[in-house]
Symmetry: D2
Subunit: 168 residues, 4 copies
C-alpha cells in the first residue's frame, strides 16, 4: 500500500467522557485511531497536532497543517478534523496548492461513545484516498466522498451531503 500520513487535529471523533466533570474532552494522544488500527489489524503513521474542537481552529492552526503536510514526504494524507469547520480547512489547504492527495474526515458521534460512524468515515477516507488519481482536497463523511467543493454539512439534520453548488 502507499505510505499514508494521518494528521489528527481533534474534533468530536476524539472526544471521551470525563466522569469527574461530566464533560466530553478531546483525547490528545490519538487513542481512537490507535484502537481502529488495532482492531483492523493494520498500522498507521499518526501525528497528533492541535487537539481542538473545529470551532476553535484558527488560521494559525491551518497554517500548521499546511506546514506539517509540506514537511512530510508522504503524498497521501488523511486529516481527522472536527466537522463544523472541516470545509474551511479544506478550502485553506486547497489554496495552499500542496499538490498532494488530501482527504478530511471526522465524526458526528465520538468514537468512544459509538465507534461505527467514526470507523466508517475514517476507513472510507482511507479506501478512497488509496484509489483516487487526482491530487486534490477531498472530504469523506457519512458515505459522501468527493472533492471538498461538493460536500457540505447539513447542520439541522446532522450529517454531510453532496451539493451541486461549489463551495464558495
Amino acid at each position: 500500500m502507499k505510505k499514508i500520513l494521518i494528521i489528527n487535529t481533534g474534533g468530536t471523533f476524539n472526544k471521551v467522557y470525563n466522569p469527574l466533570t461530566g464533560n466530553l474532552d478531546i483525547e490528545p494522544k490519538g487513542d481512537a485511531l490507535k484502537s481502529i488500527a488495532e482492531h483492523w489489524l493494520t498500522d498507521f503513521k499518526i501525528i497528533n497536532i492541535i487537539e481542538k474542537d473545529s470551532l476553535d481552529i484558527n488560521e494559525e492552526d491551518r497554517e500548521l497543517m499546511v506546514r506539517t503536510i509540506k514537511e512530510h514526504r508522504e503524498q497521501t494524507i488523511i486529516i481527522v478534523h472536527g466537522t463544523d469547520t472541516m470545509d474551511k480547512t479544506a478550502k485553506y489547504l486547497n489554496f495552499a496548492k500542496l499538490e498532494k492527495k488530501i482527504i478530511l474526515t471526522g465524526a458526528m458521534v465520538p468514537y468512544s461513545i459509538n465507534p461505527i460512524e467514526a470507523t466508517a468515515n475514517f476507513a472510507s477516507a482511507y479506501g478512497y484516498i488509496n484509489a483516487v488519481d487526482k491530487r486534490a482536497v477531498y472530504i469523506a463523511m457519512n458515505g459522501v466522498i468527493k472533492d471538498y467543493k461538493r460536500v457540505i454539512k447539513n447542520k439541522e439534520k446532522g450529517y454531510f451531503e453532496e451539493t451541486q453548488n461549489n463551495n464558495p
Copy 2:
C-alpha cells in the same frame, strides 16, 4: 455518489451468537450491513443471497453471484463474503469477464461481536471502489486493498496481506 450494489453472501461478517445452542449462526437478513448504514447515516442497496460460510460456497453459488451481478445495472459492486475462499470467488468473478468494478470484503471477527474490523473493511471497500477507475476484481481486508491477485489470507496470523506473487 455512484449507485453501488451490495451483495451479501454470509461469512463471519454476518455471524451472531445463538444463546440457545451456543453457536455462531449466519444472520440471513443483512442486519450487520443495515446497522452500519444506520449508524453511518447513509443508505445502501443490499441483496442477501447464499448466507454461507465461505468454506461451503460452491460453484453453483459462484455462478449465482455472476448472474446477480449481470442482472443488475449497477456498475460498482461490493460483495460481503467469508474470508476462507474470498480469493477463489474473486478469481471466478474475474474469469467471468463482467466488466464491472467489483470489490470483495468480509471480516475475521463477526460485526455482532466487535464491529470495528467489519465496519472498517466494509467502509474501506466502499471508499476504494468509489474512487478506482479500472474495471476489475478487488479485495479489501485489514487495510490491504488491491487487485485480488495481490491479496492473500495469512491463515496462521489471521489477517490478509499483500503478495508480490500473483494468485495462481
Copy 3:
C-alpha cells in the same frame, strides 16, 4: 420475586449524546433501564419522573419522590438518581419515614457511553434490595452497598466509598 418499583429520576445514568448539539442530554423515557431489562431477559415496573441532573433536584422533586413511593403498593423500591445529591435525597427519604425498603443507585458514566458500571450498579442494587430484611434507605454504587449513612461520594476520585462516620 418480590414486586419491585423502579423510579427513574434522571442523572448521568440516563444521559445520551446529542450529535446536533454535541451535548449529553437526559433521555426521558428510561431507554437505559429498558435496554438492561431486555438484555437481562427480565422485566421491570419503571416510572419515569423528574429527568434531571441531580444538582438541579430540589425540595419539590424530593417531595414528589416521597409521594410516588407512598402512592404505590410496592414495598421495595429502586431509585435511579444522579450521583451529586444522591445522599441528600436519601436523607430526605429517610426523614419521611416511609417504612419501605428503598435503594438509590446511578452511574458515573452514562449507560449509553459504557454500559458496564451503570448495569452493575443497578443490578447490585436489585440483588441487595431483594435480600435485605430491614426497611431503610440504602445506596448502591461501585460495589459499596450500605445504609445511606455509610456511603459517600469521593468527588476527587470519582467513585463512592464506605464511611465510618454517619452522614450528618
Copy 4:
C-alpha cells in the same frame, strides 16, 4: 463490605471469539471479571479454577470447588459457572454442608459478545449475597435470585425462571 471470594469455573460467561478457528473458547484468566471490576471501579478477590463448559464439569471438578471453598476463610462466595449444570453443582455444594453463603451465577451470552446480561447477573449475585442472612446455596440468573432449589433453566426459552417445585 464483607470479604467476598469469587471462584471462576468457566462457562459461557468467559467465552471469547477466536478469529483463527472461528470458535468461542473459554478465556482462562478471568478477563471478563477483571473488566467488570475495572469499569465498576471496584476490586475483587478472584480465583480461576477448572475453565470448562458446564456440560464437561464432573464430580472431580465439583469436589475441587468444595475444597476451594473450605480452604478459604471467606464466608461469602460467588461462583461463576456454566448454565447447563449450574443446578447440579448447586445441589452438590448444598450436600457438602459448607455452612457459608454461596451464590452461583453465569451468562447465556458471553461477556465479550455483549456485556449487559453477564454484568447484571454477576452484580445482582454480588448485591444479593452481601445482604442475605441465611447460609445456603443460591442461584442468580436473569433477575431470578433464590435458594438454588427454586430456580431452573428453561432450555427452550433460554433463560432461568422461578419454580414452585423444589429441585429434586
